[in-house]
Symmetry: none
Subunit: 166 residues, 2 copies
Amino acid sequence: MGRGKIEIKRIENSSNRQVTFAKRRAGLVKKAREIGVLCDAEVGVVIFSSAGKLYDFWTPKTTFAFAVRLPRILEKYQTNSGKILWDEKHKSISAEIDRVKKENDNMQIELRHMKGEDVNSLQPKELIAIEEALTNGQTNLRDKMMDHWKMHRRNEKMLEEEHKLL
Amino acid sequence: MGRGKIEIKRIENSSNRQVTFAKRRAGLVKKAREIGVLCDAEVGVVIFSSAGKLYDFWTPKTTFAFAVRLPRILEKYQTNSGKILWDEKHKSISAEIDRVKKENDNMQIELRHMKGEDVNSLQPKELIAIEEALTNGQTNLRDKMMDHWKMHRRNEKMLEEEHKLL
DNA sequence: GATTCTATGTATAACCT
DNA sequence: TAGGTTATACATAGAAT
């Protein structure tokens, strides 16, 4: 579509290539915008010039939708690079999950031990430690209960005396 | 570019819209391929139809380059909804973290209670439940320890007898 | 929904400034 | 290297299949 027909192959003359790039890039983006509007579609266009410069266009919604659907796109291309990148992005967050889950597991085990469960494989030393923890817990708990009770009694007495005064 | 000029606005007739979508989608991809070849560029086109179906095209190198450069693309949109939606993808993962963390907190509280800590705000009923749990734990634990000990003794005796036989 | 046909509107290659 | 002009090639709207 120009003064002459051209073959679709790399334009060797670099300034012609540059001019064609600028014009066709504009054309491509225009078409992308049009199909987006006409057909109520979400469109994204990404172009890297041979010099490595990035040009891109996204219909408004696409910025959102694209990110949401990125995994699907990468899936389709199951290339290592895509997969690796995605994994990379998730690595830190996955690490946190792992950390929290591990913490979770440890606490779960500790809790079960405190309930006398899953203790068969433990060493006598460990069993004794758990028993001590239980005993301490009981002691602490009973002290607290006693405090509560005392305070309760004191409050009751004070109320009684108030009543008497009235 | 057709029998009549059209305004660039959403095509209301849905079958016309569908036909136009298919035609222009093909056109867009063709143009993308051409600029890629002619100008030695890397091009990617992503189209989501209004029905949510994904169509995309990447020049060969782009499949790789795109993934490599994705962070740059997202950076460009960091300020706006891009960031929000990169996070959107993370939401499901974040939800899992939250869930696990919550589980974690609950266990932590339970553990502290079992150690007699942080019990001041508890109701008498709850305190009693904890004491019961502790007592049960102790009972279970002592049973297990006793079993162990018995088994240990039995094994020792058997060894002794073997030795005697030798 | 996809294809085909064809009149017409657009994009753009080659030039020019 | 960037922007404008124009002849031409191409894309596609509307209609039919």
